[in-house]
């Protein structure tokens, strides 16, 4: 299927090292992009086998954030190389049991609906918040608690849809079950900006988690189902989860068909559609906010200024620069579950950066469920009062305050 030619431009200069969150955490070149490229090359040549425990340890420890790509002067396609390495490892020795189990859940809608439904129930009873804290299990409860809406939702209605472009909302799995309030905010804010949002039944998980783990088969199966469900009727397909959006935009590569390439060409992050229309200004929201860029938005999708344009449409909002906001938070799909120690080291750097901000922000805005949960849990574990919110939630509150809703 694939090969490692995307790694050919690497001249071993090492400029990628300090762009890598795991290298910064350990300062060990085996945990650096350059070191991992050496491992991938050894795998390609057959010098190291796919079941070599050290090779697996250091390739598994890669977040897949692709923070190294923009630091690379010669344009090495690190992400493509990693994808191929993980595919070969999964094909020859299989996934690790915990990863296999987790991906099995995401692969069946009955399974994830049941699991996340139970999670939502625990969250809504207030148990998650009560049990949130440090330590592996309590961090997990923190993640669940962090999925709660940042504000109690007002019963509002979007304006009547106009004659603007039609948009199919990609619902996903985690977003659909735990972040329904972000979907509501997406629908309302898009409507204010003139888009006609259309609900499409029969979608499932995007397959990104499978794809990152090397299970391209599983990802392709889910991709084909989404392609069939969403079809070609709308102008755009809107996604409010950076990780899902990155894979949906890559369906052409994953599925290799003309229909998939056309589909991928219609996919937009919600902030792209909003920024195209301004977006429309809302009412005053006097809050301190810092933006943290999801890796799969800034690197994989190259969507960088649009989320800031969304925050810029909110009068009264004070947007602060978070040092290292372009660096991964350690969530990275199922990474926080299967690589808890490294994930925690990377998260600690992020929380430390937030702790040292003055004034301390009320919200960290970020457009990906994994980042929202990871950073939210980290903040609770650190005892900080800062909370997390999706940029469109903030815009939604601003529209509510500005009387944009009926």
């Amino acid at each position: 299927m694939g090969d490692f030619t995307s790694l050919d431009p690497c001249v071993h200069c090492g400029f990628c090292l300090p762009a890598c969150p795991t290298y910064l955490a350990t300062r060990d070149e085996a945990d650096s992009p350059r070191g991992r490229i050496v491992l991938m090359r050894a795998l390609e040549r057959g010098d190291l086998s796919a079941d070599d425990p050290a090779l697996r340890q250091h390739l598994d420890a890669c977040l897949g954030c692709r923070g190294c790509e923009p630091a690379c002067p010669s344009g090495v396609g690190y992400g493509r190389g990693l994808e191929e390495a993980r595919r070969r490892i999964a094909a020859s020795v299989g996934l690790r049991p915990l990863a296999r189990l987790t991906l099995g859940v995401f692969g069946r809608s009955v399974a994830w609906r049941t699991a996340f439904g139970a999670g939502r129930w625990i969250r809504d009873l207030g148990l998650a918040k009560l049990l949130a804290g440090s330590g592996r299990a309590r961090l997990g409860f923190g993640m669940l608690a962090a999925t709660a809406p940042g504000r109690v939702r007002q019963p509002t209605l979007a304006p009547e849809a106009g004659t603007g472009p039609t948009v199919a909302l990609f619902r996903g799995c985690v977003m659909d079950t735990l972040f329904g309030h972000v979907h509501d905010a997406t629908r309302r804010t898009l409507a204010v900006n003139g888009y006609r949002v259309i609900e499409v039944p029969g979608q499932g998980c995007c397959g990104a988690l499978h794809d990152h783990a090397g299970d391209q088969e599983g990802a392709a199966r889910l991709g084909r189902a989404n392609l069939a469900a969403i079809g070609e009727t709308t102008d755009f397909i809107v996604v409010n989860s950076a990780g899902c959006g990155a894979l949906l935009k890559d369906y052409g590569h994953l599925l290799g068909t003309e229909a998939a390439r056309r589909f991928a060409g219609r996919v937009r992050d919600v902030t792209e559609l909003l920024a195209d229309r301004g977006p429309v200004t809302g009412g005053s929201l006097p809050l301190d906010v810092a933006y943290d860029a999801p890796c799969h938005l800034q690197h994989a999708q190259q969507v960088q200024r649009q989320p800031l344009a969304v925050l810029g449409a909110i009068p009264g909002l004070r947007v602060h620069q978070l040092p290292g906001s372009d660096r991964c938070c350690g969530s990275a799909g199922i990474y926080s579950l299967v690589e808890p120690a490294m994930s925690r080291m990377v998260l600690d750097d992020k929380i430390e950066a937030i702790r040292s901000l003055t004034p301390r922000p009320d919200f960290i805005a970020t457009g990906n469920p994994g980042c929202l949960m990871q950073i939210g849990a980290g903040l609770m574990a650190a005892g900080l009062a800062t909370r997390v919110a999706h940029p469109v939630e903030l815009l939604d509150w601003s529209y509510a305050a500005g009387g944009r809703y009926r």
């Binding site: 200069c13 400029f15 002067p73």
Partner: protein
């Protein structure tokens, strides 16, 4: 040149080192060792016997004592961005990686000093002192990744060393752990020059004298005004004569850099594009800094000089983003050259500035005769050349041509009265040229100095001096 791990390093040593630094900080599996087999110069490879990553200076001292007790050779390493194959260890040696010692210990804005551990990244130091209106001047192109400890070992340079001097001019004191595990303080924080200049001796010793664990650096005020001129030339010789004309005018620019067409093509194709037209034969980057009036007066001299010597266009950047864009293009050039071929051999040599135009012609002749691509990106102001050879090591013909080209370029530089390295060090790569650059008596003296610090010859063995040069090696005491 790959060496495989030898049984010289026993499981017993692995256990002893693990007890000193913790088992997760001793790397011993083949896959992990492979990630440390090269630095920034891909023409040399050598797998270390073990990799140790100590977390504190006391751990460094303990590790070195243990290695001394057991007569095990070691090689210090920073971020592995060096370009001379200097931070490579053989299978019988321990690679001592110092990147975890990455704290800035003190910043003293009043006396313009900072004390740092060796693993601090060069650019991070300047970022940390910027709020005091200060900077750490030596700025090798790898500054976003390389460490201050590595800069000390190689006596690193950088574009701004034309006016401000290389690393040795910016270090006032060192705490070093000697190869036997003992500690010594060299120099004094304020840098008063009394006694033998041991700091000067240690700077550029390429890991053969021990490990600097605390480095006191001189900080300089950020210039009040900076202006960067970017000139495009249609003739390479014209660019060289412009360089000579600027220096002859008595002005010392903060930096005076040249990129030739081949290099420019790679840079302009990268995300660090400067916006130059790639049909230019060469571009010059001239930076002027200082008081605003002085910068304006110098610019009024330099710009006409550039045009009089044939510049077809001169752009002047004064804003920080514009300057940053021009400099990124220059500083990321080595990496950008990765676009041309899978492998890149970056060379380093110095010639008298007056010899630059002829040398560039000779390099072009080597290129044409061997049929390989050579790009030039270098510090023109001080005659420090960096011919970069693009090749594919999987093709034996190309790999052989690289060896020939390197040798011919080095010989041309020496014949022109130059030296074999300006700032990258000798390492593994330039050892064989040492006897051509120095008399036997001078080489013997260097070996003697080395023995003062490292009587057993265990610190970075096999580097800098060719086999058979140092007396103890001639006697066959080791190797």
């Amino acid at each position: 040149m790959t060496t495989s791990p030898t049984p010289a390093l026993t499981a017993d040593l692995l256990g002893a080192l693990s007890r000193l630094v913790g088992s997760r900080w001793v790397r011993h599996r083949p896959a992990e060792l492979a990630t440390y087999a090269a630095d920034g110069l891909p023409t040399h490879e050598s797998r270390p016997g073990l990799v140790v990553l100590p977390g504190s200076r006391s751990e460094v001292a303990a590790v070195l004592s243990l290695l001394a007790e057991r007569h095990v050779p070691f090689v210090p390493r920073g971020a592995g961005t060096g370009l001379s194959g200097g931070a490579l260890a053989g299978g019988d040696a321990v690679l001592l990686t110092l990147t975890r010692l990455n704290r800035i210990l003190r910043i003293d804005p009043a006396s313009r000093r900072a004390v740092v551990e060796p693993g601090v990244i060069n650019a991070h130091l300047s970022q940390a002192v910027a709020r005091f209106g200060l900077q750490y001047v030596p700025d090798p192109s790898s500054q976003t990744a390389c460490t201050i400890g590595g800069n000390v070992a190689e006596n690193a340079g950088g574009p701004h060393c034309l006016k401000y001097g290389v690393t040795t001019n910016h270090i006032t004191a060192l705490e070093v752990i000697l190869p036997d595990g003992s500690t010594a303080t060299l120099g004094s924080p304020q840098g008063e020059p009394w006694g033998p200049d041991l700091v000067g001796l240690f700077l550029g010793s390429e890991g053969m004298f021990g490990v600097a664990v605390e480095i006191t650096v001189r900080l300089e005020p950020t210039p009040r005004d900076i202006r960067t001129l970017f000139a495009e030339f249609t003739q390479l010789r014209a660019a060289s004569s412009a360089v000579s004309a600027i220096i002859a005018s008595g002005i010392v620019p903060a930096a005076l850099e040249m990129m030739d067409q081949s290099c420019l093509e790679a840079v302009e194709a990268s995300i660090y594009a400067t916006g130059a037209r790639t049909d230019a034969a060469a571009v010059l980057l001239v930076e002027l800094d200082g008081a605003p009036e002085a910068v304006a007066a110098e610019a009024a001299v330099v710009e006409p000089l550039l045009r009089a010597n044939g510049a077809r266009s001169v752009t002047v950047a004064t804003s920080e983003p514009d300057r940053a864009r021009l400099w990124l293009g220059r500083k990321k050039a080595f990496g950008a050259l990765g676009r041309l071929a899978p492998d890149l051999a970056v060379q380093d040599a110095v010639v008298p500035r007056s010899a630059l135009p002829d040398l560039l012609d000779q390099i072009a002749a080597v290129r044409d005769r061997l049929g390989i691509r050579i790009s030039n990106v270098f510090h023109a102001g001080d005659g420090n050349l960096h011919p970069c050879i693009s090749f594919d090591r999987r093709d034996p013909r190309q790999a052989a041509a690289v060896v020939t080209a390197n040798r011919e370029i080095m010989e041309a530089c020496l014949a022109a009265g130059g030296s074999i390295t300006g700032e990258h060090g000798v390492g593994s790569d330039k050892r064989e040229y040492m006897p051509r650059a120095f008399q036997p008596a001078a080489l013997d003296l260097m070996c003697e100095v080395r023995r003062v610090f490292d009587p057993d010859g265990r610190a970075n063995p096999g580097k800098v001096f060719p086999a058979n040069v140092c007396r103890e090696w001639r006697r066959g005491d080791r190797q």
